[in-house]
């Protein structure tokens, strides 16, 4: 969805995210800025329905206002001309991947992108990704679209046939963990964009803390991208599940209300 916010559209860089709130009772949650038009003063957000907050956002109509929107947050992606970049996006991870793919391509790199999802319906932004990649491989778990297999299979094929200078992986934590293990084997510097739970997004509360290289970092101010080989994915996965019960209960109540 395209949201009007001239200030954020102007100061945003690829890799930044925003924190939103829908309604006075809404919670604060992060979304990556998939794109921006500084001239029109708009930013583009990609949402997939996962729970209460995303449902509320999707339910808004053009003309409605998002109650609270703040940004740009997080450190922007480090973009440079490095040679060949392998971008891998899993599920909703493709949305934050898009601006980064675009930026790397604009910087003069060769960009090869693998996008993957469980099935055809969950593959998103394929056309937009194709626009900014030299080559795109689509993978689905069930083979309903593109090739059948996990994103790591597609990645490995590319790695084995050409030299990759840098890799960027975005997707569910478990996907990033295995993608990272793969690139570590081949010694390819890899960035992962983490999707930790956040509350304020400005470094104030520590809810989004992750361990990177043995040290505690905050996803919202030190990240959201980190050296994937240093991230403790197991701990991150565990922390992502911290509110599962509460999230499920809230979703049930919300669906009942509808």
């Amino acid at each position: 969805m395209v949201v009007e916010n001239p200030l954020i559209a102007k100061s945003r860089k690829p890799g930044n995210f925003v924190i939103l709130r829908i309604g006075e009772d809404g919670e604060r949650f992060p979304l990556t800025i998939a794109g921006a038009d500084p001239v029109r003063g708009t930013i583009t957000l990609v949402v997939q329905i996962m729970g209460v907050s995303s449902s509320k956002l999707v339910a808004l109509e053009p003309g409605d206002c998002i109650t609270d929107l703040v940004g740009p947050l997080g450190k922007p992606t480090h973009i440079e001309k490095i040679g060949t970049v392998l971008a891998a996006g899993g599920g909703v991870g493709v949305a934050p991947l898009l601006p980064i793919v675009e930026a790397f391509k604009k910087a003069g790199n060769r960009v090869v992108t693998v996008i993957a999802a469980r099935n055809r319906d969950l593959i998103i932004l394929e056309d937009e990704i194709r626009k900014w990649s030299d080559e795109v491989i689509v993978m689905t778990d069930d083979g309903s679209y593109g090739r059948q297999g996990l994103v790591t299979a597609g990645m490995e094929e590319i790695i084995q046939r050409e030299k990759i200078d840098e890799c960027i992986v975005i997707g569910p934590a478990i996907m990033m963990k295995f993608a990272s293990l793969l690139t570590k084997k081949y010694n390819i510097p890899t960035q992962a964009s983490l999707n930790s739970i956040m509350v304020d997004g400005t470094g104030m509360c520590g809810a989004c803390r992750v361990t990177v290289g043995g040290k505690t970092k905050f996803t919202c101010v030190d990240g959201p991208e980190f050296d994937a080989h240093q991230v403790n994915f197991d701990e991150m996965l565990m922390r992502l599940g911290g509110y599962l019960q509460e999230e499920k209960a809230a979703t049930d109540i919300y669906l009942q209300k509808l």
Partner: protein, 476 residues
């Protein structure tokens, strides 16, 4: 007024007792104030105790030197509104300070009763609150007169007590003031940090409304330095900046297991409950609840956290503090209230590590018992672990309230800004001016984590000096 009643009679009066909501009732409610406020008769009587000393030492105890005898005597006279006006001459938010100031370390500690008579002091804090609440409830609150607008734009970063005090003064001088706040609510620590049962949001909102009526503009969801840069704001015409972005950086102890689920910083815990209303069913934000809750720390934040945990249904709510109770930084009243509500105080204990279940949720912790050794060079007795005293405790929620540090976001956007190794902004102590001449700073970002009254004092001092600075600039 002095002659009306003999001092001897004054000293016979017992210090007033603040009516408090019964502990067993109040632990069920996050949003019911514990201190219910004095009634008029109580306030009049308490005000009579004040002997209007020739040499009022209480004023010296106040960090912003409020003319205490003056406002108390107005109360005695029955002219409460004048008392409130007197307070507002120096203190922008008396309703807040009357509730949260550590009077026992400030004004009340210098009261004649305490100094010379070894009796309880005049209840200066309760009287301040009374006057402020009375004015608010009377609907007769006067909006202070503001000077002619001079068209000069100034900005504050943050909307906590320092910024609010600064904004209030600057708008009176005639400036065009905008308060920029990163969160979606205004008030800073007054809203997200201090719980409703100590400082109702309605009290804060009333003051914010007053500021709006005076002409102060508020922008929420605006991170100065990210949403716009300081240069952008300069281009828009802002000539002066007051940086009061506060101490919003949580500190952890870095001990094993601290990243388990269910271990939160006090900032996260209090923000979820106070700012996002997580305890209420109709609010989306969740908060983790626990049956056995441990709060590490001994300050007001720790007290707020542990009492919130009780109100959220904890069966055991424990304070774990490595020193003794006498050394706790928290207000004595908060400790008393916490004890009444059933908080367990495990002093002279310190956590060593946390254990988690298979899902990664904290399930227990190991602690050391501590003894107090010789005073170190700070003057405080040093907590020393007692060898062989380790023991374990079942917990399912831990709040780490060991202090906060200045939020680095704004300083990181200004490479020329001089900052100490603690993360605080370096300022000229009299002028509150930073190393960048049009930038002033105050509050926790300068002091580390300090009190509301000091933050407000900083805001007022900065306003006065920025006014001088801008006036001299425009004259040149």
């Amino acid at each position: 007024m002095r002659s009306k009643t003999k001092n001897k009679e004054r000293t016979q009066i017992e210090r007033v007792k603040m009516p408090e909501l019964a502990p067993m009732i109040r632990v069920k409610y996050q949003d019911r104030e514990v201190n219910m406020g004095l009634e008029l008769e109580q306030a009049l009587k308490e005000a009579t105790r004040c002997m209007d000393c020739v040499n009022p030492t209480c004023i010296e105890g106040c960090p912003v030197n409020i003319n205490i005898p003056k406002f108390i005597k107005y109360i005695e006279k029955g002219d409460i509104l004048q008392a409130a006006a007197t307070l507002k001459e120096t203190n922008a938010l008396p309703a807040v300070c009357g509730r949260v100031c550590p009077q026992e370390k400030q004004c009340e500690s210098r009261c004649f009763y305490v100094d010379k008579m070894d009796k309880p002091s005049v209840a200066i804090g309760h009287l301040e609150r009374f006057a402020a609440d009375y004015e608010r409830n009377s609907g007769a609150a006067n909006i202070p007169v503001t000077a002619e607008p001079n068209g000069i734009k100034v900005a504050t970063v943050g909307s906590g007590p320092a910024s609010l005090a600064f904004a209030g003064d600057m708008v009176k001088y005639g400036y065009d003031v905008t308060v920029f706040e990163a969160l979606h609510e205004i008030g800073g620590v007054l809203k997200y940090g201090i719980p409703e049962f100590r400082l109702p949001n309605s009290v804060v909102d009333f003051e914010l409304d007053n500021l709006r009526k005076m002409g102060v503009k508020f922008e929420t969801n605006y991170i100065v330095g990210r949403t716009s840069t300081f240069d952008d704001l300069r281009e828009e015409g802002y000539q002066g900046f007051f940086i009061a972005s506060g101490a919003g950086l949580p500190r952890f102890m870095d001990i094993p297991g601290e990243n388990s689920n269910g271990i939160l910083s006090s900032n996260e815990y209090l923000t979820r409950v106070n700012l996002m209303g997580a305890a209420l069913d109709d609010k989306d934000t969740p908060v983790l609840k626990g049956k056995n809750v441990a709060v590490i720390g001994g300050g007001n934040t720790a007290m707020d956290s542990v009492r919130t945990a009780l109100r959220l249904g904890a069966q055991r709510a424990m304070i774990i503090y490595r020193r003794s109770e006498a050394e706790m930084p928290a207000r004595i009243e908060e400790v008393k209230h916490a004890k009444e509500e059933g908080v367990e105080f495990m002093t002279l204990c310190n956590p060593l590590e946390y254990f988690a279940d298979q899902k990664g949720r904290v399930s227990g912790m190991r602690l050391n018992r501590m003894g107090l050794g010789e005073p170190d060079s700070s003057g405080r007795r040093r907590p020393m672990p007692i060898d062989g005293s380790e023991f374990e405790l079942d917990v399912d929620l831990v709040v780490v309230a060991v202090g906060v540090s200045p939020n680095p976001l704004v300083p990181s956007c200004l490479p020329d800004l001089k900052v100490t190794k603690w993360g605080t902004i370096v300022v000229d102590e009299d002028k509150m001016q930073s190393s960048i001449s049009e930038m002033f700073a105050g509050g926790d970002i300068v002091r580390g984590g300090a009190t509301v009254i000091l933050a407000m004092g900083d805001g007022r001092r900065a306003a006065e000096n920025m006014h001088t600075y801008l006036q001299s600039k425009s004259n040149n």
